[in-house]
Symmetry: C2
Subunit: 228 residues, 2 copies
């Protein structure tokens, strides 16, 4: 039984390699949940801008945060505009990419990488509801290290006021996945060049405690990298 | 003696955390040369699009390739337009990001990541000179695995015709770097929460040879992951 899927649109159906595209919600969520850095694109003065930033997912909503003084977040307006505040939002494209392997073919042309990516198109709007904002900030911290938000001092009023959170609903979404081995031309198979896939590994180094750690503070069990 | 630098412009000077910005060419080149996947942003029908793609650097030029049928590459026009071909190019923003560590502060607000990124603004144009195109394709392969391009079957005429290469000159460029430890507020230092930096590690798994490898083909010395 297929899981729920996003509805494809003109801009989520690729012009090529359409067989690599997927709209499966479970797959999209899994790719998003494995990461915490996205590349957020928006248009400024008619030109594209792409910035790396942290994100978090809560259900079918993505959250990105930043200083209330930053240009894209100011432009994004408010999530729940009142009568006097139309809150047009900010057109964005949010992309998350994991590179899983290097695909070395005998021919230069068929070199590739194995990857999984998600591209989200939509309109980002500022979150103004305090409870939603709190949950969004927790989600941002927990995306980086699951379980971490419960073991921190939460944002106080001043910090919360200085932080803008924008929301992007998961509606116009696609995933793209390349897996597997080398796709060389049949006539190239006898060539003497090595061909195959080099898997990529991600991991953690040993955590480096802050020198000013309060005496007796133990490394918590949720910390990545503890086993070396 | 400081090395050469790019000239800052309105859009390469950040509105905040300007102390993290750098225009140093050596630093920019080092960040670009450590990667091979960028996030390329452009504007389509007034909305931003951000796609992951491979890139290569040759001096002060970046190259990105793709199918001649892809929308952004078609739009990019030609690098050396003739009288009948104005070749307007495609406004792009090309961003490369390396995440080096997770910064876990006592306060949720001061959580961060250590990273190095480069953002390039400019106009991408199609490369039409055959020799430049050949060098660009070599650079793309060698960015993924240094030395690899010499050990492949080069693109033939048909493959070359099917591949569009666009060039983006390194002119309007900035790097942004966050390094170091936790920046908690003085009044939070005594809190019982663990704080510190978790370094991120990238590495390679053992290469998986193509099952149809020609008999006697040894793994070449330039292959990453050979030592496990």
């Amino acid at each position: 039984m297929p899981s729920a899927a996003y509805t494809p649109t003109d801009r989520t159906v690729p012009t090529r390699a359409a067989h690599k595209a997927s709209y499966d919600k479970e797959l999209v969520h899994a790719i998003l949940d494995e990461g915490y850095v996205c590349h957020l694109g928006f248009v400024r003065d008619g030109a594209p801008v792409v910035l790396p930033t942290l994100y978090g997912r809560v259900g079918e909503r993505l959250y990105v945060h930043g200083s209330t003084g930053s240009r894209p977040l100011r432009t994004a307006g408010k999530a729940d505009p009142g009568p006097g505040d139309p809150g047009p939002g900010l057109a964005v494209c949010l992309t998350v990419t994991h590179v899983d392997g290097l695909v070395l073919a005998r021919s230069a042309f068929h070199h590739s990488v194995n990857y999984r990516s998600v591209v989200v198109h939509g309109t980002a709007r500022q979150v103004t509801d305090p409870e939603e904002k709190r949950l969004a900030l927790d989600a941002l911290v927990d995306h980086v290290v699951p379980g971490r938000s419960r073991d921190t001092r939460p944002a106080n009023a001043k910090e919360s006021a200085a932080t803008a959170v924008i929301r992007l609903d998961l509606e116009e979404v696609s995933a793209k996945v390349r897996t597997g081995g080398v796709n060389d031309e049949p006539e190239d198979l006898a060539l003497p060049h090595w061909a195959g896939v080099v898997p990529l590994r991600k991991g953690y180094g040993t955590p480096v405690p802050d020198p000013a750690l309060a005496p007796g503070t133990e490394a918590p069990g949720y910390l990545p990298g503890l086993s070396g």
